[in-house]
């Protein structure tokens, strides 16, 4: 059965990025990168902080424009779409922001009902059923009446996950879902991403630098560094790769191709030089 699915869906990619370049000011965030996101898989995008992983998600969602290159989502070039078409496409995408980005003046229930109310004409009773189902999927049905300020960080992320699922998207993007979580909520989030991806046949993109958690659920990993794809493959392939940089990143070594020290002159001459600022 699984093979059958694989055969059908390997015929096309969910997202295909070709020769994409994006810069902020004079700094090139992405330099001619190409990558593919397969449907119904969990694709992880990892890299050191500040490599523009979140920027990549914003490019995919059409919130930012690349300098050059193409970015196809579901066979459509995101940056050539009209506003209406883009909004239509976004209904197929869910996005989980790092902060959760819940609307602070609404309860948990209303936060999840919000996109359903805005985009459908469903009666309130059916919306209630949908909201409770989404909340149940993330285990927070009992928290429906809380306000976002009363939630812990992990709960806020789960509510945001339920909201991202509200419109039954085909793909979902997780922006740093594991950052700053205690071990228990970390475990919950890892399990949720995995099970939701399987049960709802989603295509998931996980942007993260938590190697262990991400590698445990990802089907395919792209490592991005300094605007380029520095390594790619399944978690097993990456763990056995010969590249020093990939090894350093995957195993979290303090020193390696990425030096421990920020570039500076030699320490002896630096300490002995007489340039003390008085």
């Amino acid at each position: 059965m699984l093979l059958f699915y694989d055969l059908i869906f390997l015929c096309y990619t969910m997202i295909s990025i070709r020769n994409l370049t994006f810069s902020r000011g004079n700094r090139k965030i992405f330099d001619n990168i190409s990558l593919d996101i397969m449907p119904h898989k969990i694709t992880a995008i990892m890299g050191p902080s500040g490599t523009g992983k979140t920027t990549l998600l914003k490019l995919i969602a059409g919130q930012l424009r690349p300098d050059s290159g193409t970015l196809l989502v579901d066979q459509k070039n995101v940056h050539h779409l009209s506003r209406t078409e883009l909004y239509k496409l976004r209904k197929k995408m869910g996005m989980l922001f790092q902060s959760g980005a819940l609307l602070t003046d609404m309860s948990v229930y209303d936060n999840i009902a919000f996109p359903i109310r805005e985009h459908t004409q469903l009666p309130e009773s059916m919306i209630r059923t949908l909201v409770l189902m989404k909340l149940n999927a993330v285990g927070l049905r009992g928290a429906r009446d809380l306000m976002p300020s009363e939630l812990s960080g992990g709960m806020a992320r789960r509510v945001a996950m339920a909201r991202a699922l509200a419109l039954d998207p085909e793909m979902i993007m997780f922006d740093e879902p594991f950052t700053g979580q205690d071990p228990i909520s970390l475990g919950v989030l890892v399990k949720l991403i995995k099970t939701l991806n399987q049960t709802l046949h989603l295509s998931s993109i996980v942007v993260s630098h938590n190697v262990v958690e991400t590698a445990s659920i990802a089907d395919y990993i792209y490592l991005i560094s300094e605007g380029k794809v520095a390594g790619q493959g399944t978690p097993e392939e990456l763990n056995t790769t010969k590249s020093d940089w990939v090894q350093q990143f995957m195993q979290g070594k303090a020193d390696g191709p990425v030096p421990f020290h920020y570039p500076a002159q030699d320490i002896n001459s630096d300490l002995l030089s007489n340039n003390a600022k008085l």
Binding site: Q98, E118, H119
Partner: protein
Amino acid sequence: MNFFQSIGHSSLKFLAKLGRSSLFFSAILTGFGYTLSRPGLLIKQLYNIGVLTFWLIAISGLFVGMVLGLQGVYTLSTFGAESSLGIMVAASLVRELGPVVSALLFAGRAGSALTAEIGLMKATEQLSAMEMMAIDPLKYIIAPRFFAGFISLPLLAALFSAIGILGGYLAGVELLNVDSGSYWSQMQGAIDFHDDIINGVIKSIIFAWLVSWIALFEGYDAVPTASGISRATTRTVVTSAFAILLFDFLLTALMFGAS
């Protein structure tokens, strides 16, 4: 050389900002239909922006009117013209002080709150999250707030003038014994509906547009950090004050200068 460079740099920055804010404003206008179709959103903002500013406007209006009454009697009595107090109080309030002072207060109370609210929504990615849910924040968040401000301020300015005239009555007539009949009848005789009242209303409508636009744009354009939002809030109050006073001068010159 650096001096000229910095002039050029800041002019370019100013023009770019002006361009962004114009695009922003045209986007708000396209949200007009949406706001009409969602009266609940508008009413909530009318309460937040208009109703909650009422007491500030009412109390300030009372005191400004009372001061006008006191100063008016003091000055007019040197010519023995205390009976014209009503004209002086009403004309100053309806033409100038009502629209201008209430707009300044409105910028301080409601404008700064709007900037901080929108800036914080931007910083916490709530606006981005809405875009990702395919809901346009310009329509859902910004447009109702703009139209609420646009409706509220002219009404608040009218209240300010009305309460100010009562304040002038209290100070002039009740406290300093100006004749009550001449206070009202001179006012009724001299204040023209078109020249004074309508012109004052036009001013307050233009100030309402300016303040709501500046406040919302500064919030939307804010650097999404704590210091960025605090700077944007300051800019809202400062820019609004400048814009109000500049436009007041221009409008006064247009409306009353020719006669």
